[in-house]
Symmetry: C2
Subunit: 333 residues, 2 copies
């Protein structure tokens, strides 16, 4: 299975995407990766690759780059030879099973819609992020593909998220919570209320009503559905708190002898705990609702995170996730 990897996407491109491709190919003998970007910039990073893995890594030339600050839809339209657009064209042409990028989120979403194309019947795509919670992983979507949502969008996110968690995480009947500003029925706005009614009467979704902010870290439901503005807010706030926790622990112990001794013994435990907040760094976020596999990696991804995103993409391909979403929608169209 060949995946197209945007070698120029993210804060650490092209070094880390290239290293990530090597890491992923070493760990998965069935994986092939096409690194998309300027050949001259990519080739030097492939020298260290072991021969067997190297043989499954190819380079596809693309000499333009979409930057983090570029206007998403304008750049995906105009930069026809950008690494991201070329990677997406490969998916559209079925030359690659899917594509992965740690680049400009908006451009990834715009490219998903404009280049890869939406699944018939899906109004807007949703970017899903697995968030570690107390007892399990909670899938939060949308985290930024669709800033403001109509009821139909939220409803479709719930449908797609359910299929993803069923096929991908093996949860038979994943529970879905609709994010609101409180658990009572009177909460939310018009779109949220309408989505609530749609979901309550949809037998294909194990709907548990409204969830609120504090329910996410607890892991009250397997899936939490919200608009992209809210999901993005929560995701970045969580990341910021993770940073704060680290700095705060350091501040509280620095120069104090007993807490420093304590920290020495607790280090592995604290490290493991802090990693619970490194949401996206642990893997990739699938863009659900597009007609092909598109996985976004965190902008500051290192090789391990890129390899993780490649793993998400290949696992999603193996279970034929896109087809599962299509079939589920057709059966109730």
């Amino acid at each position: 299975m060949l995946f197209a990897l945007d070698a120029m996407g993210g804060d650490n491109a092209p070094a880390e995407p290239c290293k990530g491709a090597i890491l992923a190919c070493r760990g998965d003998g069935e994986l092939s990766v096409a690194l998309v970007g300027p050949k001259d910039a990519i080739i030097p990073y492939l020298e260290s690759a072991p021969g067997e893995a190297r043989s499954r890594i190819s380079v596809v030339e693309a000499d333009e780059v979409i930057g983090m600050g570029d206007n998403p839809s304008a750049s995906i339209r105009s930069k026809k030879n950008s690494s991201l657009r070329v990677a997406m064209e490969m998916v559209r042409a079925h030359e690659a099973v899917g594509c992965i990028s740690a680049g400009n989120t908006g451009a990834i979403v715009a490219g998903g819609v404009l280049v890869v194309g939406r699944i018939k019947g899906i109004d807007r795509p949703g970017l899903a992020v697995p968030i570690p919670s107390l007892k399990k992983t909670t899938l939060l979507l949308d985290v930024g593909a669709t800033v403001r949502c109509k009821a139909l969008n939220l409803y479709q996110f719930a449908r797609m998220g359910s299929i993803y968690m069923r096929s991908f995480a093996g949860i038979e009947n994943p529970s879905v919570g609709l994010f609101s500003n409180g658990s009572e029925e009177i909460k939310g706005d018009d779109a949220i209320s309408e989505a609530r009614e749609m979901l309550a009467s949809e037998s294909a979704v194990n709907f548990e009503g409204f969830v609120e902010g504090k329910d996410i870290p607890i892991g009250r439901t397997d899936i939490v559905v919200c608009d992209g503005f809210t999901g993005n807010a929560l995701l970045k706030f969580g990341e910021g708190i993770g940073e704060l926790v680290k700095v705060a622990i350091r501040e509280e112990i620095e120069g104090k002898i007993l807490p420093m001794i304590g920290a020495f013994f607790m280090k592995p435990a604290l490290k493991k705990m802090a990693s619970r907040f490194e949401y996206e760094e642990n893997g990739g976020s699938p863009l659900l609702g597009v007609d092909g596999i598109v996985v976004k990696a965190h902008g500051n991804s290192r090789d391990r995170a890129i390899a993780g995103a490649l793993h998400v993409a290949s696992a999603f391909a193996r279970i034929k996730g896109t087809d599962a979403i299509k079939e589920s929608l057709e059966s109730r169209a």
Copy 2:
């Protein structure tokens, strides 16, 4: 200065509001508190009060209660003899300088608008919560008074928040960030874009543009302005993460000898860190934009948090915060 305290508001009423009133009066010799609620339920809790503090605590009869699940505006209208409504009527009649409640947030906001009344020129009130961030305290508003906001609402929150942080926290020229789903100008929706333009051309506000989720724990600006839906989401998510951190630390160390030794030495440091997430528990949230002092305490407040909310109210009264907001608006009307 007499403040009306809703003795029946919150999860631990009337015990904790009563104890909180005693605690606050013991700590502040200029404070008087009228506990509003059923006399028979309140009096027993006042027996332990030292004579001097007891002499500054009175009881005002009110035999109805607005529950946490009651419809906010319907209950504030119909339950004319509820402890919350009676406390607010005392503010309207200038019998009390301000009122405090740990009860139903929606009813506090509805009562603020319907009973206490809005400041002339203010479209909607904003509930502000001081959030501990890396270097300082960040004032987040709105956290639930106005679920969806027009640009004018966000603009007015920025104005009121600035006055609050200037008068109350003594920050000469507090910086204001407008919450969005990214720091670039193209982010946000129509209301947020419009508010951005209004704030950029407002000399009375030290506006620093958009802030996103991760900027809040870092403390990038003194004030963060958002709609009530988003603020509520962030606040509750932060609380949930605080819980998760506590449980996760416990899980990581339990039964493991070295981490347990470590935790013993680190306990004070960890406790101090965890307290950084107990946002509302540390004090009260002023409802800005109403023509009198209204402070909301967290629903699960214990005596210390109630006393903290009384302290916020009395400090706001001393600096004549409501008048400062009025004057500032008039001078640029």
